[in-house]
């Protein structure tokens, strides 16, 4: 498989997924040049790559590696539109389902 599995997680799951590739959907809270903070069930510090174009107030799905300090080093970012239009309960439910019924989501 050319594209590795990227389990969907939220901030509370970060420690379980240290040094692993994950997928997170969150709202951009703050931009600081090379890094940013997103709210994904809690604030998460992310380290941006050059291609990531984030703007505050929008929802973004990132794929990245969780480092030892529980920051996520972004490899790809996809804009998911205005954050207020996202059904965040559904996003949370998906993450819960991913881990509770992992057989259909990741190895």
């Amino acid at each position: 498989m050319d594209h590795p599995q990227t389990p969907r997680i939220l901030a509370p799951n970060l420690s379980t997924f240290q040094h692993k590739l994950v997928r997170m959907l969150g709202k951009v809270v703050q931009l600081r040049g090379e890094s940013a903070t997103i709210d994904a069930g809690g604030n998460v510090d992310i380290i941006l790559n050059r291609d990531a174009h984030l703007s505050v107030g929008r929802a973004v799905e990132i794929i990245g590696k969780v480092d030892g300090d529980l920051r996520v080093k972004v490899q790809a970012a996809t804009d998911f539109g205005p954050a207020e239009k996202i059904d965040w309960d559904a996003v949370k439910a998906v993450v819960e389902a991913t881990h509770r019924h992992k057989t259909i989501f990741y190895d």
């Binding site: 498989m1 050319d2 594209h3 599995q5 990227t6 389990p7 969907r8 997928r23 929802a59 790809a76 996809t78 998911f80 539109g81 239009k85 996202i86 059904d87 559904a90 996003v91 439910a93 998906v94 389902a97 991913t98 509770r100 019924h101 057989t103 259909i104 989501f105 990741y106 190895d107």
Partner: protein
């Protein structure tokens, strides 16, 4: 699981066709209403890409997920690569659970999708309807339709839909209380099998109704069937519960009353 039944429904269909097509009632008892089995074969199943990679192929070439045959399927994923050929466009789709190639055959009938195609770009999400194809152990999806996802909640929705469907097949329909507790996979499998007991589709019936139906199908009896008290005694279930299970099965048309309202026999479809 039940190939005998499959044959029956296929034969009855073929028979109907030979006799001039359409639904021929005098095809006899064989033209029974199609049960859960053939219904499942024409279902549209929401899946994750990992489920497609884990799908089993039976010797009869049927592909199953969670023990249920699949034909039409739908998935939502992010386009990672697009390669246009003369006869088809191949999209590499990634939904976080794995990736798979989706082939859309170029067809003059598909001209009206031109506008949506312009939105099918790399890294955008799309929804696919199609069938799983296996060639030399390599899987791909032969797509009928691919359209861009406009509302991003559709991604969450689809993954929850796939989970719910997976749970339906591994643990039976919702609302069975204790049965919905996290159990081992084999336990779930058993429940699914019991849900599809015999020729009848018992999904949607209570566990008691399933037991009663099983006993009515297997228990020794005359053609008058069995009295509810005999069933209750034999299964060690309260008569009231058996009566309730009987009501369920009666209203579902799986059993019928014989000499009185409390004596039932299985309604044999063939």
């Amino acid at each position: 699981m039940n190939s005998g039944y499959q044959d029956t429904s296929y034969n009855s269909y073929a028979g109907g066709g030979a006799a001039g097509g359409g639904f021929i009632p005098d095809g006899g008892s064989q033209t029974s209403p199609s049960g859960g089995k053939s219904y499942a074969q024409d279902s549209l199943r929401p899946v994750t890409i990992k489920q497609l990679h884990d799908a089993q192929q039976t010797p009869e070439e049927t592909v199953t997920i969670d023990g249920a045959p699949i034909t039409q399927l739908t998935l939502v994923g992010q386009i990672r690569n697009i390669s246009s050929q003369t006869t088809n466009i191949t999209y590499k789709l990634d939904d976080g659970t794995g990736s798979i190639e989706v082939k859309l055959w170029v067809d003059s009938d598909n001209m009206d999708t031109e506008s949506s195609k312009s939105k099918l770009v790399e890294n955008s999400y799309c929804r696919v309807w199609g069938k799983l194809k296996i060639f030399n152990n390599k899987k791909h999806v032969g797509a009928h339709i691919i359209r861009p996802v406009d509302d991003m909640d559709e991604v969450s929705y689809h993954l929850l839909d796939a989970t719910a469907t997976h749970l339906y097949f591994t643990r039976g329909p919702p609302g069975e209380g204790a049965a919905a507790k996290d159990g081992s996979a084999s336990n779930g499998q058993e429940q699914y099998n019991s849900g599809a007991y015999g020729k009848a589709d018992l999904s949607g019936y209570s566990p008691t109704a399933r037991k009663v139906y099983k006993y009515l199908s297997e228990g020794e009896q005359s053609n008058e069937g069995l009295h509810q008290q005999a069933i209750a005694a034999q299964l060690g279930i309260e008569v009231a519960d058996v009566a309730r299970a009987g009501d369920e099965l009666l209203s579902g048309g799986l059993i019928y009353t014989t000499i009185d309202d409390e004596t039932w026999a299985v309604l044999e479809a063939d």
